[in-house]
Symmetry: C2
Subunit: 392 residues, 2 copies
């Protein structure tokens, strides 16, 4: 039994960040039990089930209605034998259920108790519910993303949620190592807002030094030119000629040698100042060329660049296919489904995907039996609505 197979995780979280944290630990080999309301995690219906399926694999599932005191009793029994608990209720909700940290610590002083929230367990906004998009608004990234003359733009996926899940998993492994010395668990407090701020740290450091704010520049980096997305005959691609060598190689590749003698484009700063004209000239040269041809040329010449792919094209990319990061499985309810492995290749292997995301309460009976509940008690819990399970 590997070190992770001995680790028991009680995943009481929902939506995206907490489940992703639990899934990372499950992928590493931990025994993760998802505790789910009989109505199901409210993210189950989103994207046709894709959200839930993407972040809950490799887990078992017990369904409990925590409004029922008997269900709370089941959670307390699970706490006794768990190493880790993850929850993402609005701060205060676990306390009101009698499952807050102080209660949990009395039950199991070795428990690593992780709470994920929008703003953290402290501070003026701590009791507000958290949303990835609100953290995007408040951390500064929305005002760094988009066009200088346009409105703020949302990152088109909930990456702060994913990051908060990663910080939680990191906190758990850190706490497991520290517990070996101390013998004690920890209270871990992760927030979407703190996560986003840590990713803004270079821009925050600059502002604190100079008062300078980032410039929104569409697909470009404001400091370099040409360094942005361009349109070719059949699609977009990114070209990043951030150095003199790349600029000269690009002009040669596109048959635009005359630009290297054009005073409007003599230095990077000139090219930044005349970005619009330069973009037009480069897009003229690209208008008759296929994107993949240009990308192949960039790669041969060592110029940073790549195609701008849609999600479907990503799955067709030969590198992505051969890298082994994708896993295709048959989900019992959703059908064929592509999963992305946890992208930590250790000695050549990424963690295995053994089971798809569970159905609500699919393991309720077994988990209760493992806890020592007799058949009669289990049926009573199911009948009273404290627990739920699919028809057996």
């Amino acid at each position: 039994m590997s070190v992770f197979e001995k680790i028991k995780v009680l995943d009481m979280s929902h939506a995206l960040a907490g489940p992703f944290a639990g899934m990372l630990l499950a992928d590493f080999g931990a025994q993760v039990i998802k505790v789910e309301h009989p109505h199901g995690d409210h993210f189950r219906p989103l994207l046709g089930g894709a959200y839930h399926a993407a972040v809950n694999r490799n887990k078992r599932d017990i369904s409990l209605d925590l409004k029922n005191p008997e269900a709370v009793g089941v959670v307390k029994k699970l706490m006794v034998e768990s190493d880790v608990l993850i929850e993402s209720f609005t701060p205060g909700a676990m306390d009101r259920l009698g499952l807050g940290y102080e209660a949990a610590r009395e039950i199991n002083p070795c428990l690593i108790y992780c709470s994920i929230s929008g703003y953290g367990q402290t501070g003026p906004y701590h009791s507000l519910p958290g949303y990835d998009v609100v953290a995007q608004a408040m951390c500064g990234i929305m005002l760094c993303t988009g066009h200088a003359d346009g409105p703020p733009v949302r990152i088109g996926a909930s990456w702060i949620d994913m990051g908060a899940g990663m910080y939680t998993a990191l906190a758990v492994l850190k706490a497991l190592l520290e517990r070996q010395d101390s013998g004690r668990g920890q209270r871990v407090d992760i927030s979407l807002m703190d996560t986003a701020l840590s990713w803004m740290s270079p821009l925050i450091a600059r502002f604190s030094m100079s008062g300078e704010l980032p410039v929104r520049a569409g697909s470009a980096l404001a400091a370099f030119s040409p360094y942005q997305v361009f349109k070719a005959k059949d699609g977009y691609l990114f070209i990043g000629a951030s150095t003199e060598r790349f600029w000269l190689a690009l002009c040669q590749m596109l048959g635009l040698e005359e630009l290297t003698r054009d005073s409007r484009f003599a230095t990077n700063q000139d090219r930044v100042d005349n970005r619009e004209e330069l973009t037009k000239l480069i897009e003229q040269a690209l208008a008759s060329r296929f994107r993949d041809e240009v990308v192949a040329g960039l790669r041969r010449a060592g110029i940073p660049g790549g195609p701008v792919l849609d999600v479907g094209q990503v799955l067709d990319d030969p590198h992505v296919q051969q890298r082994g990061v994708l896993h295709h499985l048959e989900h019992p309810d959703l059908g064929p489904l592509t999963q992305v492995k946890t992208p930590i290749a250790a000695d050549g292997e990424m963690p295995l995907i053994k089971t798809p995301a569970p159905a609500v309460g699919q393991d309720t009976r077994q988990v209760l039996a493992d806890l020592g509940y007799e058949d009669g008690e289990i049926e009573r819990l199911l009948t009273s609505g404290a627990a739920a399970a699919p028809p057996s």
Copy 2:
């Protein structure tokens, strides 16, 4: 001595992802030595030094010119006593220096050897250099970000780099736990592209199920309305009325009760279909109101929302200030500088920031002396250019 204080990390990485990984470990208490070329990490000049300062604190610094075989010898000596090595050269470069994984494993079979690259150590693109913005283009996020009728948009900060650093730190802690059982180190292979794909996993799962591609919708979530950024009298704010209850509360708050009886806005789908008209009506109501007033109203009413802040305003936010996630220090070269703590609060404390990012080679002499080099040898290494240090 805590468990992390015994962990020695050789951070041979540069730019953003690798240094961030090393910094996370340094923040946890590990002894991290940054190995830096005498000319300095090429990210040192960016953003006036802010990039480097944000991801290299709590480290010591030895400067070595790895083109010099004596410098390579120093690294091999450091490998003997290190637990972890992090490098982010283009795949193959460490091998050409005689410092690749096979060589390292012979020197120290317990070493956890982490490589970070654009595409990973395997697959058709493995030898291409990696850039955050290229991974953004190729993972699909650029085509999910921006406006439906506009070009792809870059996320205005290098978040994939940050994520790759976090996966590296997670891989290191995982490997440390596994090493306790196995007695052996690991070869860890992290890439920007895999990191980005893992964050795209919900959208990849959906595409694989249904062929559906994400819709670019500016600051909005396409599925809900009103759920986007709006303009108030003095700035932008996000309002996310994703449920009927939020919608009714919003109309009441803004004095727009007549909209709840307007057939164009009867259901969420109606409001999505008539987003443009609805946006106009809401912005009319907001035109005379101050942003912070509206945000306070949203919070009182329990409606998801928040201000769209710039990086400077973020630092003035009362919650951010009171949460304790910021650390103000005096950097010896850069002056006053705000750092973001590693956002893992454990038992109420985030990891301490003890020392600012080091100067190039500031600890060269001491690190060499600790390795057993005599004063004469150290001077010879400095004179030959194998090592570098500021004037003593």
